[in-house]
């Protein structure tokens, strides 16, 4: 088995996390998983949605978008079509759930964090890059809140990151790019905490159904990759 990317089965693409990428947001990161590039910003706003009012806790919500020509052929702009597609909504719900798992919302005060993940170049794995990068932007945004005196406690419970694994020509492979993803038999997205717990596991058989041993092999591979992603997050935060 040789991957189209010529990477080893367990090899991530080059990971780059650039903090303070744009100047206005409380947290702003450019995350790159190889040729996949996503701008992740975190915006802090006072107040919470109606269903949480008066409960003394905060909220985090996420939105995801792709620039029309982030992909090989141009996709019509969702703003001009007048609605977000199902794939977009599915991904932004996943990002939101994943990052809420990083926080103790009761320590956030009545504030809302808006995560925006905008793909400027897509080559597979945009949702996993988004989660991994947004986690770093979230740490930065909370630091800004602390400086502003808007936080009494640290709401971070744990770091969260995400990676994809798949089965390519019968072999589990890590962090699929677009070409690999298109021909993989199975596609699995795994979101974990740095303490080794699972937050989300979403596996889809693209071709033949998969079996439990393959599943377990994929989960192990994901864990290996995620350990490197947690290191990359820490390296970026220490820089």
């Amino acid at each position: 088995m040789k991957r189209p990317s010529e990477r080893a089965a367990e090899q991530l693409r080059p990971i780059r996390i650039t903090r303070h990428y744009t100047k206005h947001a409380e947290g702003s990161v450019l995350v790159e998983f190889g040729d996949t590039k996503v701008i992740c910003t975190v915006s802090v706003e006072a107040g919470v949605p109606r269903f949480l009012k008066g409960q003394g806790q905060g909220w985090l919500t996420a939105e995801y978008g792709m620039l029309p020509r982030s992909t090989g052929t141009r996709n019509p702009r969702e703003a001009s079509k007048g609605k977000q597609g199902g794939r977009t909504l599915e991904i932004q719900r996943l990002i939101g759930r994943s990052l809420r798992a990083a926080l103790d919302l009761s320590k956030l005060g009545e504030n809302t964090l808006y995560i925006d993940c905008d793909v400027i170049q897509a080559d597979g794995g945009t949702r996993t890059a988004s989660i991994t990068g947004a986690m770093v932007a979230l740490v930065d945004a909370l630091a800004v809140m602390k400086q502003r005196g808007a936080l009494k406690q640290d709401p971070i419970k744990q770091m969260v990151a995400a990676v994809s694994v798949g089965i390519y020509q019968g072999v589990p492979v890590l962090d699929l790019d677009y070409l690999e993803d298109s021909s993989a038999e199975t596609d699995l997205n795994v979101v974990m905490t740095d303490a080794g717990g699972f937050i989300e596991v979403q596996g889809t058989a693209e071709g033949a159904p998969f079996h439990q041993d393959e599943f377990n092999a994929m989960l192990s591979l994901a864990q290996q990759g995620l350990n490197q992603l947690f290191e990359a997050q820490q390296a970026a935060l220490s820089a």
Copy 2:
């Protein structure tokens, strides 16, 4: 551990699959998982979406909806809000992928099958009931197509069904109802084939992250439940 439903951990709710539930659709099933009740219809239309034209193969797509008062408090009607929510789109995409996995679309001719799953009463597990019931409606619809001479080959590769599992008070439990789902720590939806392969696995940690041994225990429990669901499908189809 005692489940709110007083069921044993590995016990499904009463499953009822009523075929020919409405008269117009080529396939029409009322599926009940306890108090969860979903009407699943399959409609056959000649032609395929543009991206498949001229390739001699068919297509299957799914839509999902809930009656406004299928739930404990009324949800605004999506048709009057002017758009389908993210949860709705996520579920209908899952139903579509799951049932496409049951078929060899190249044996369907240039026809499109529309799966409509409409929840008339919700009590947890509406997506798994939808997939399980729609599979039976799909078999009926293909039989009608055969009778009409619209099929040369049988497009069914395998039966597909779905069930939820979760961890409730530390114990893996099968087929959660709404109350159990609301307080479960983890929620896992599993779609399998009757040959024992996985089509979709979607697990979410609602509270604490989950671990691989819990994951494997949940998958085993799901497999047990799915064996009973495949039997229920066969029983309905033989009736």
Copy 3:
């Protein structure tokens, strides 16, 4: 003249009204006019729309929908089209006006009743079945409000029901099914009170214009039919 349904000119289809059809709504009825089947629910919510605030009275509003395959060929789902069609809006406005006529809204307190009529199988007369069935669900919902202590007085002024009449091959006929409706020259929907007053009369010449004597003959026939429908409502409520 022989009706396609082989019914006598003045004969209703078999009428069935099943109360407590779903478990969450304060009132929930499955109403069947022959093969036309509609789920009617009544949901009670505290509060009134802005234009009524502070006036101490209540409100009732209605929504109507059809499952995509409730009809002979599949209709695109309004929620995915992003808007309700003109026919839908016209019908739900009719249902709302008709049922408001049953109530003294000043005795309802500042509460809003949502009527949802969802057609699961259509064979002509869905709007008349909706009104007739929703009236029964309304009685049930008000009884629940009374039990909850949310009503001081009985807001029901009169029972309301609806039926269609038409002219088929020159002869006035009652309660047209889809086939009859498609070939009728005139279509008249009549909403009355059990005291014999008219709430709504909507007549449309589908082919040739109609004349006053035909009109009067149709109204008489409607009254006959409505008397039976009021009996069917009472029978259901006494069961």
Copy 4:
């Protein structure tokens, strides 16, 4: 009984029909029923909607709108709200059905007539003024088509006009203005042909239910008024 408008019970408001009101449309009329003023245009376009293609017949469809400040208080513009309301759709469906009844569509060729009725000042009876005025614009538009050689036969079967009647303080009154309409017990819109047949009859009890004798009295009154409206149409067309 004294009407707020001080008219006799059977008295129409002053009716004015101004042809060739705007210059671009094939037919263009300003119709005034007292202070109610509606611009009715008829636009001719080659081709028919998809459901009629290849059948050699034409089509007529109508749209209705109100300028935001045609009414006593400003109504938000439907174009900026992003959708037409239920009342608008109900009225434009009525206008379309009524004017289709005037034509033998099989003599129209594969052409579509767009009726646009735009209310520039509203004082009750906008839908009846719209139908009455649009009928005149329709005659003019067909004459233009004839001149262009686009018509081989005259598609007009009969003239159509509309009027409202109501019961005000127990007495049937003709052609209600806004003030009268607001306090009338019953509101009835009647569309007839000049040969004396009914096309549409829509009656609504605003307060107390109405009875058959009142109904018949209102229909007679409508017929009287419509005879005058047919004369006004003819006078305009002869001018």
Copy 5:
């Protein structure tokens, strides 16, 4: 050079401003620039948008629309398309900015003025006619407010009017009609105050780019035309 309209280069079309054109609005004008006819109404509502609340000042906002058959071929109704087009939004933003420049909003109290400009017949220059006519309606609406005691001071700082100029066959011409506009090389819309200041200047090269001397010639011509328009406004207001 001979203009299609046979007017002299510096000649306006006949300008007519009819006040009190409809009866409900606080200000209501029919403005005609030749065959271009626009109804301009001004509606007064208590309150201001959220971003201005509590600041003691007022607001003015504008909306623009065209009747579907105000043009040579019918344009689909924006209300039924479900959104306003870019041209519409661009024009109504221009109208709003222009008329806000006429007012000292701090003297308006917490009131909102809605300007509605609806084109009933289009022949070029609809936006300039709209601004010029709406200014007169604005004066009338403020007089009504004064009469009602809703204004303590006169908020009008200056009169505002607008005109188009273009380059037709190399020569600057004033107030282009549709035919001239279609074949002009440059199109310039100029909004000025009666004190001779510019509020908005928007020039577009339709064909060849234009140069500064042409630009200055066009601005001079616009000023000439605007002086006549300010006179026409005064004449109408004195009538």
Copy 6:
């Protein structure tokens, strides 16, 4: 007068044009006017809109967007609001007109060029930066078309660029950043060709009206700035 940015009145911000910024688009540029950063891509698609079919010419259209947190406070995502705002539509219409002026569309073949300008960081002048950067991406995209053999002739007639000028504390200043723009009395956007002709001139008095001498001073200043921008474009294209 001292500008907030401490620049001289006639001084541009640092201009950076980075070609080949993303990998999928035929042309892709990151343009920076100081802290304003816009990704401009040009996508080539075979075919033209319906109104141009069969005429042998091409088309160019533009879309504009801002990432939600490209600004000081987060703006709701237009895709999730379900429509593009008036400002967005106004800007993308301006970009499209400006770049069409650079091309002889009859030499483009039946191809459509989609310009996408997405602001990743905003600090004033996003529309002028978009036009200036997109022009460079357009040159690159046409070169790709030539290489693919999709162009027989060079469709570029002239280079196009844009800059803003304003009056700040009575003095004309070039290329306003956000802070300067917010307090400028007048805002003028100028689009020119490298041959010295005007394509678009859009001036708005934000506070006091402006006069012709100020206008001419601003135009001269714009021309100075544009000369530098044309050099920056050439420098980027030669790199």
